[in-house]
Amino acid sequence: MSNARPHPRPPLALKKIRRSVATVLAACALLAASACDDEQTPPFEVAGSGDVAGQLFFDADNNGIFSPFGGDTLLTDVEVRLLVRNDTTLIASTRTNDDGRFSFSGVSPGTHQLVVPGQAGITGSLVFCTLPGLASVYIGEQTYLAVPAKRGCVVRIAEAKNVGLNQSTTIAGIVTAAQGTYRGDNVYIQDPTGGIQIFGIPSLGLQLGDSIEVTGRMGQFREELQIVSPVVAPNVVRVTPLAPVVRTAKQITDAAALPGPKSPDVGQLVTVRRILQVGAFASGNATITDATGSIQLRLDGNVAAAIPQATFQAGKCYDITGILGYSFGILQLKPRAPSDVAEVTCPQ
């Protein structure tokens, strides 16, 4: 423990000196009296104000802006509030007009928070994914916020896999198995956290590399999770198709040991290299073995015709790419096309 003192005690002589000196100094201070005109400077005052305005609408075409020809509709007479950021203190409140528009004037500069309270009762099942939103006010300017309502807000695929069955969810990802690869009404999509099958898609002609947003219910087929009753947002964007992740058979089985169908690898595009042996096919399935272990190869749906079983010959080795499926606890590698199967030199 310490002995920090406000004024360390000097010797008595010093005290006396100090006292007399202080007296003299007080007189001397008069010499500098003309400089004693300090005024407390106020902190920065940011003067002026700005406006916050915007529009609430159902973003049917999922493009983030109100586009009536895309099927968007206005949301009228909805209460909109402007709050102090990170707080519940109300700055102002208003309701949208017949054009779905709202506005706040005379708002102090800075970043504030926009919310639509009780939205579930007013806008049905729609949600405002951009709210609570931040509105940064600039002096003498109007800050405009387009506030789209959607059927659901995008969550990561890994997160979506944890919602209950039949619960609505919205995900976004890049198509890794196009419509018609396995069936005409399903695709696989993938985001950085995993992949999943979308089942029951209308004929949209989705291709490899299409970036899509899907709202649907969580379903299950042979224990593999999938999105059913999907509604695909119309703003499909073509990007670079994803490259597969390289896994060994053991890595796949180890990763799926506990989470099972919720394994990050299930639903993903995977390459298993140096497959040493492809077993006999039964019902379109065969055991494949690499140096680390075994999983199942499945020639699923349309692929069964595209990739004849005879493609795989004893004594030869293959690198096989495909979507990793899951069927009653069995991990299945599902190639998509003949190009997913490459014969390689067997390791010595």
């Binding site: 423990m1 310490s2 002995n3 920090a4 003192r5 406000p6 004024h7 360390p8 000097p10 010093l14 000196i17 100090r18 000196v21 202080a22 003299v24 100094l25 001397c28 201070a29 010499l31 500098a32 003309s34 400089a35 004693c36 005109d37 300090d38 005024e39 407390q40 400077t41 106020p42 902190p43 920065f44 940011v46 003067a47 002026g48 102090v84 950021r85 990170n86 707080d87 519940t88 203190t89 500069p109 800075g110 970043t111 931040l134 940064s136 006010v137 600039y138 002096i139 300017e141 985001d191 950085p192 956290t193």
Partner: protein, 1093 residues
């Protein structure tokens, strides 16, 4: 005890009590003179004290033959100006009177020495009468305060490592920082160190970027001590030549050659065997310091042309120890011996973890032999300086001096850390050049001119030993080791080039002497300071390190992906006029006016978005052109014989703002962004995958982006000048009295006051307005809403910033104010030749609302320890609720005693005793109580112990310093034991109420000179430093309350229902610990030898 030993010991004992000394000419004040020459002034009268006009007086330099003369006026008064410092023979002649010659008249730079004559009427004998060894009189022309350290003192006083700081500290008005033992920054009278102006030979010798002496704070000297004639510490210099300071001026004067050929070589040595254990009882490990110096001088043409060449150098090697498995295992063994099995296991685990760390660095990161980067390594601290000077007495009217100083400093493997080893260390270098020419001219009998031109440059490359991103990994749950990471030494580079022109014209007009002058500095700055430039990887454990899976990657990056660089110019112009008016033979009045213009850099680009958001004018750089400073001083020669003088002065000064303030603006002209990459692989903000084997060692490949994002993320931060920014202004005044009395005694007393305004500060334009107040804590303003208030951690940017489109928007402001009062008393006496004693006591009070002296904008913003109103509202003078309080630099009491005596066998003993009170410090809260985003800058509210809201939940973190038990009872004991907080119950603690401990130090130097032949001599010296500590380990200890021990309360949570912050209490508050480990503090001895030729 034998008689011989007694003869030696007795004087030493006596000296230890009195401390031998060398007189410091504190008396004098500033001459109207100049900064490289002095003057002789006197009165010629007859033996009946009747003034003798038209007498001829000639002063001849005894070493160089340089001569100059004057004629007395009707009142018998003469002044001989522009005399190079040295000893002069002054002769007065007048028809009808016997000439009189006075030898040994000492001319000091910037001072006027009195030399009065009483001529006898000539009779039959007309020979010249000689008077030798005149006692130095009191300076009779200066209204200010100056302390001079003479060449003799420099040569004979003990100095550890020839550090010129030792001499600067002889002034009680200088406040050395206890943990800084080399030069750099000097606080004078409690003012900001950056407000001290350092000059050599009257020209600028500052590193104006940081506001310190050229060469910086790590280097012991950047000029050769062999070339120094004297140091001057000028506290109140009213001469209009002095400007750009509000604290004080340190003037260093070099010397030139003489008519005598001379040469000398010197060397000293110090190592661990001559050094005592440190204050914690640890013996010093192997180190060596060798210093060497040499000087040669003489005439090239007798009485006309002289040369002087000198060098000074240092070679210093010190060990640095960093972590190794063996160290852990040694600890493990020790813990087992102490029956602490769990600790032994932990140390063993750490040793194994470190070995695996090395292995992974090799296999996954391509590091060859990483073990060699840890353990013991050597730091170097090497200096080499070279000085050359030519003096040419071109004619009776013109004298030209040319000199060049070069210094080269290598400080390698410095700033390493125990857990980071050699790769975390850096190499700091400093190169300086200064070329100065001075032409002194007499145009007419009464018109004198001095022209000085300087060309200087300084460069400071500062490079990390490894420029790859830092790897930080937990080798055990509680042990983090690092590899690489240059941080602030990432290709850091500073260059400062200056061109300076000074001209002073003096015209004697009888009772008036008029001086007109100008001083102009043109500086070019380049600064490549990339704070957090190398990037930082963190790994949760060794598995993650092995799998290249960092948990985070952070780096400060420029928004355009470029290299941060500030290049700008700064200019200082001044013009001045001064009239020295001899109102009566005893009263001299001096009136001056100085006009200063300062310009900082080019205007930076406007930031339109900031102007839109805040209505704040950007794109400005200060041009301060309305600075007119009046100067007024008086000296009254009470008896008319320079034995008793009263001096009085008052003036306005404009200080300098360190160029780094402009650098902070220029370097964010393209804004910096905080890159913060976290998340799993595949996430857009996931850290980039490290690829050390393929990355360039120059750091060129260090990632600018997160793994999944194409551009640089984050919000921009800027620093701006306040459009109204102006230079600091300081009113100073002093009243002094000095008298010679008795048998060689001199007494002086000086009182000083100063008041500064417009000192530079830093504000944050983007800090939110206050959101609520803590009415349970002195009504303290909080800058985040209750919903985001987490006082245990720093408030985040989104919570505390007004507009989240931006990060911090710092503004160079200037509402700093300071007041200083000081009284200094000096008594000195020459007992006999080579036996002197001088003692001074200085009492200083200094208060301010911010003790920010340098350097980053963030440092300026967080510096004031804030109270109820927050960091943007530091208040004015006397506003305790703001940030008004004692200056962090002031030492209230300083006693300096110096002395010199001659022992038997002609052994000389000199010594310095310095005893000083501690600097103020402010207790802090270990959290962000006001939500301004900064921990440790909030002054605590002092609860009565019964009212302290105690946190009883689960503590976050692993702070082992927290008291566990009856917290309130413990807190009560803290209040009781620390008056600096206990006296303030029920209020937010005022700033800087506590004091560091007193410190006393005695240094001695023992030297014996042996004449060989023909003026050749050898001298052996033994310097003893911190002798008190050598006598007893409990004495002479450098201790302080370090930052981590200033935390009074640790906030752990906030009870929104009651509005109370809940606290725990650290156990370590106020504990004093050893200051530094740099082998300069404890008792040590230094052996030296010098040869004279």
């Amino acid at each position: 005890m034998s008689a011989v030993i007694e003869r030696v010991v007795r004087p030493i004992a006596g000296l230890a009590a009195l401390v031998a000394a060398i007189a410091i000419h504190s008396a004098a004040a500033l001459a109207q003179g100049t900064t490289t020459t002095g003057a002789i002034r006197g009165r010629v009268a007859d033996t009946a004290a009747v003034a003798l006009g038209s007498a001829q007086v000639v002063a001849v330099n005894e070493e160089t033959g340089f001569s100059r003369g004057a004629v007395t006026d009707d009142e018998g008064v003469y002044v001989i100006r522009l005399l190079p410092p040295g000893l002069y023979t002054v002769t007065a002649r007048r028809i009808g009177h016997q000439p009189l010659e006075q030898r040994g008249i000492r001319v000091i730079v910037g001072s006027t020495t009195a030399s009065n004559f009483a001529l006898r009427t000539a009779s039959a004998v007309l020979g010249t009468v000689e008077v030798v060894g005149q006692v130095d009189g009191v300076d009779i022309t200066q209204g200010g305060i100056k302390q001079t350290v003479s060449e003799e003192q420099i040569r004979s006083l003990p100095t550890l490592g020839r550090d010129f700081t030792d001499f600067i500290n002889l002034s009680g008005l200088v406040s050395p920082q206890e943990d800084i033992t080399t030069g750099g920054q000097f606080s004078i009278a409690g003012q900001r160190p950056s407000q001290t102006n350092v000059q050599i030979d009257g020209v600028d010798a500052n590193n104006s970027f940081f506001g310190e002496n050229r060469g910086g704070s790590r280097i012991p000297f950047n000029f050769s001590l062999e070339s120094i004639r004297e140091f001057q510490i000028i506290t109140n210099g009213y001469d209009v030549e002095y400007g750009n300071y509000s604290g004080g001026v340190i003037n260093i004067v070099t010397k030139g050659g003489t008519n005598t050929h001379r040469a000398t070589v010197y060397g000293n040595f110090r190592n661990e065997q001559l050094t005592k254990d440190d204050f914690a009882g640890n013996p010093p490990r192997d180190f060596q310091v060798q210093q060497y110096a040499g000087r040669v001088e003489g005439p090239i043409i007798r009485d006309r042309l002289f040369y002087l060449l000198s060098l000074d150098g240092q070679r210093r090697r010190e060990p640095f120890r960093s972590v190794t498995p063996a160290l852990y295992r040694a600890d493990s063994v020790r813990k087992v011996a102490n029956d602490s099995a769990s600790a032994a296991v932990a140390f063993g685990e750490a040793a194994r973890g470190l070995e695996r760390f090395y292995s992974i660095l090799t296999t996954q990161y391509g590091v060859d032999d990483p073990a060699s980067q840890y353990g013991d390594f050597e730091t170097t601290n090497d200096v080499f300086t070279l000085f050359g000077r030519l003096d040419w007495n071109a004619s009776d009217k013109h004298r030209l001096s040319l000199r060049h100083n070069y210094s080269d400093y290598d400080n390698l493997n410095e700033a390493g850390t125990f857990f980071g080893g050699l790769t975390r260390a850096e190499s700091f270098r400093n190169r300086t050049n200064s070329f100065v020419s001075e032409l002194t001219s007499i145009f007419r009998e009464n018109v004198f001119n001095v022209l000085r031109v300087q060309l200087s440059d300084e460069s400071r490359p500062r490079d990390g030993n490894s420029k790859l991103p830092e790897i930080s990994v937990n080798i055990t749950p509680n042990t983090v080791v690092t590899y690489g990471g240059a941080s602030i030494a990432f290709n850091n580079y500073l260059a400062e080039k200056k061109f300076q022109v000074i001209n002073n014209l003096t015209v004697d007009l009888g009772a008036h002497s008029l001086k007109l002058g100008t001083n102009n500095i043109f500086a070019d700055i380049e600064n490549r300071f990339w704070n957090r430039g190398s990037g930082f990887y963190s790994f949760n454990n060794l598995d993650a390190l092995e799998q290249l899976r960092p948990s985070s990657y952070t780096r400060s990056v420029r928004s355009d992906g470029g290299i941060p660089r500030a290049a700008f110019g700064a200019q200082e112009y001044s013009a001045y006029i001064q009239d020295d008016w001899r109102a009566t033979p005893k009263l001299l009045a001096s009136f001056g006016l100085r006009y200063d213009v300062s310009r900082y850099g080019d205007r930076p680009a406007r930031v339109i978005d900031v102007e839109r958001a805040f209505g704040f004018e950007t794109g400005t750089a200060p041009i301060d052109n309305d600075n007119i400073s009046p100067r007024l001083s008086f000296t009254y020669d009470v008896r008319g014989d320079a034995s008793e003088v009263v001096r009085l002065g008052g003036a306005l000064f404009y200080g300098r703002v360190p160029y780094v303030m402009g650098g902070n603006v220029a370097i964010t002209e393209v804004p910096m962004l905080d890159l913060d990459c976290r998340g799993a692989a595949g996430e857009p903000n996931a850290p980039p995958v490290p690829n050390y084997p393929d990355w360039s060692s120059t750091g060129a490949d260090n990632p600018f982006n997160c793994a999944g994002v194409g551009g640089v993320g984050g919000v921009p931060t800027y620093t701006f000048w306040n459009p109204e920014f102006e230079l600091p202004e300081t009113w100073r005044a002093n009243l002094g009295y000095e008298r010679l009395f008795g048998d060689g005694y001199r007494f002086s007393a000086d009182l000083l006051v100063s008041a500064s305004t417009k000192l530079y500060t830093v504000r944050n334009l983007n800090l939110r307005p206050e959101q609520f107040r803590l009415d349970t804590e002195g009504n303290r303003a909080v800058f985040v809403p209750r919903g985001a208030y987490t006082p245990s951690t720093s408030a985040t940017g989104p919570a505390r910033l007004r507009n989240t489109d931006f990060g911090d928007l710092f503004v160079n402001y200037n509402d700093g104010v300071a007041r200083s009062q000081a009284a200094t008393f000096t008594v000195d006496r020459r007992f006999a030749e080579r036996s002197q004693l001088s003692a001074s006591y200085t009492y200083t009070r200094a208060h301010d609302n911010s003790s920010y002296s340098c350097c980053t904008a963030f440092a300026g913003f967080e510096n004031p320890r804030v109270g109820a109103e927050g960091p943007n509202m530091i208040g004015g003078a006397g506003d305790d609720d703001g940030a008004w309080g004692p200056s962090a630099f002031v030492r209230n009491h300083t006693v300096v005693v110096t002395g010199m005596t001659r022992l038997p066998w002609d052994i000389d003993l000199t010594g310095i005793w310095r005893s000083q009170s501690g600097t103020p410090w402010a207790p802090e809260v270990n959290g962000d109580i006001n939500g301004d985003g900064i921990r440790f800058n909030d002054r605590p509210y002092i609860y009565a112990s019964a009212d302290l809201p105690v946190f009883t939940g689960t503590r976050t973190g692993t702070d082992s310093t927290l008291f566990v038990g009856d917290t309130r009872a413990f807190y009560a004991s803290v209040l009781a034991e620390n008056e600096c907080i206990g006296d303030y119950v029920g209020e937010i603690l005022p700033r800087n109420t506590c004091r560091q401990p007193w410190f006393s130090r005695l240094d001695l130097s023992i030297r014996k000179q042996v004449e060989v032949r023909d003026r050749r001599a050898a001298e052996i010296t033994l310097d003893l430093f911190n002798v008190l500590n050598g006598l007893d380990s409990d004495w002479g200890r450098y201790e302080s309350v370090t930052t981590s021990r200033r935390n009074l309360l640790t906030p752990q949570g906030y009870n929104a229902a009651t509005g109370e912050v809940l606290y725990t209490v650290p156990e370590t508050f106020g504990d004093r610990t050893q200051v530094g480990f740099n082998l300069l503090l404890q008792f040590s001895a230094q052996l030296g030898a010098r040869l004279y030729f």
